[in-house]
């Protein structure tokens, strides 16, 4: 299976002998070790550090279908270099747009997305409830919101439900992460106000980029979304899909990292008005997140083991079938 590359160190990536050459820079800016990376085995690049590259490299990456995702110093997703679309499908494009423009059809998809997200985050809460955490009240509250979903008649209303569900869910975070030194009052972004928020921001962004990478390998158009408003200059379909996978990929990664003390308060830096993950912490996070994406589960319908990463792609296929009126979309619901 092709692998994602994560680049933290400043360095120069270039094309040489039809493959990738990476030269790291040390603190003084002097060239360090060079490393050749097999292009045939690279799925995509995630760039966190400062990377030097020229257009020859991007042409080469484009030809090989490798996309590059960029993140700024504050760990926000800033954008992607996407290779030219290689799977074009006019019919699907028309169907996707049709499902967006008709409010009735759009509501169906959007509602399923919220439903899937709510189901998966409830799964997380129930798991911890089984381990003696007091979250019954929040579970009941979220279930109440979910029961209201079928009656929502506008997208804004659905977004409202989604917001409420998440807010209630985040209220439990402090309980779920039973480690001193981590408090969580409410979700804050740009910049995140405390450690848990910093982890959530970082993780959500990785999840967002992972979804985008998978969408690229299907015929769906990443700019036309259903739950989120398709804005310009962003791939909002990835935001839609990420909703479903965030509880599984991001939140569970965070619980593991903190409960096993793999990330500790000293992995953060407080500066200006926010809280950020230090580089060592980021690397740990990425390593565990990557493990999670590669982790496999036994798929019930396909009757074979499937990685989390592949589950995202399967989700795209299901969406495609729905858009082409072949089979109704059922959001992915964790069954274990």
């Amino acid at each position: 299976m092709k692998k994602s590359l994560y680049i933290f160190n400043p360095g120069r990536m270039s094309r040489q002998d039809n493959t990738l050459k990476y030269t790291a820079y040390d603190e003084e800016g002097a060239e360090g070790q060079t490393k050749f990376l097999p292009i045939e085995n690279v799925a995509d690049l995630y760039v966190f550090g400062s990377l030097d590259a020229n257009s020859a490299l991007y042409n080469f990456l484009g030809k090989n279908g490798v996309s590059v995702h960029f993140f700024d110093y504050y760990e926000h997703y800033t954008g992607s270099f996407m290779a030219k679309e290689y799977l074009l499908a006019g019919r699907l494009q028309v169907a996707q747009t049709g499902h967006y423009t008709s409010l009735k059809k759009r509501l169906v998809v959007a509602r399923k997305l919220v439903e899937g997200a709510a189901f998966n985050l409830l799964k997380n809460l129930r798991y911890y409830q089984g381990r003696g955490r007091q979250v019954a009240e929040e579970i009941a509250q979220i279930e109440l919101y979910v029961s209201g979903l079928p009656y929502a008649t506008t997208i804004a209303e659905l977004m409202g439900y989604e917001g409420n569900i998440r807010q209630t869910y985040y209220r439990c975070f402090e309980q779920l992460v039973n480690v001193p030194g981590f408090t969580f009052s409410s979700r804050s972004t740009q910049p995140p106000q405390n450690e848990l928020n910093a982890l959530l921001s970082f993780g959500n962004m990785l999840c967002y980029a992972a979804c985008l990478s998978q969408i690229y390998h299907t015929q769906l158009n990443p700019t036309i979304s259903f739950l989120h408003e398709p804005g310009s200059r962003r791939f909002s379909l990835a935001l839609d899909l990420a909703e479903i996978f965030k509880p599984l990929l991001v939140d569970r990664t965070i619980f593991r990292l903190l409960n096993k003390k793999e990330i500790q308060p000293r992995d953060f830096v407080r500066e200006l008005d926010g809280c950020l993950l230090k580089e060592a912490g980021r690397k740990t996070f990425v390593r565990v997140f990557e493990e999670r994406l590669k982790e496999t589960i036994q798929h019930r319908r396909l009757n074979r083991s499937v990685s989390y990463q592949h589950l995202i792609k399967l989700e795209c296929y299901k969406l495609t079938k729905h858009l082409l009126n072949m089979e109704e979309y059922q959001p992915f619901k964790a069954w274990w």
């Binding site: 692998k3 994602s4 590359l5 994560y6 680049i7 933290f8 990476y22 097999p38 045939e40 990557e290």
Partner: protein
């Protein structure tokens, strides 16, 4: 599939072989490569390798293993290149 590829090739052809292998596998030591590769990609690599090597003089040896877990790797001395994907 996880493979270890080693080659012994006459000097005038060795750099072409090196460049070819770099595209598919991770270089770990002089004339030794390692990495995850699919059946199809491996066939592609081997057919390109055949075009480079002279079958009377040179050889490429492959060690295949189903997954990386089935392989225990031990490095004595300096590790010249790690296989890490987090740079």
């Amino acid at each position: 599939m996880y493979v270890i590829l080693v080659y012994d090739i006459k000097q005038q052809r060795v750099s072409r072989m090196l460049k070819l292998c770099r595209r598919y596998l991770h270089w770990i030591q002089n004339s030794v490569f390692e990495g995850e590769i699919s059946e199809v990609k491996l066939n592609e690599l081997l057919s390109k390798a055949r075009a480079i090597l002279d079958e009377d003089e040179d050889s490429v040896i492959l060690f295949k293993s189903r997954t990386q877990q089935w392989l225990e790797k031990q490095v004595v001395g300096r590790e010249r290149s790690s296989l890490d994907t987090i740079l």
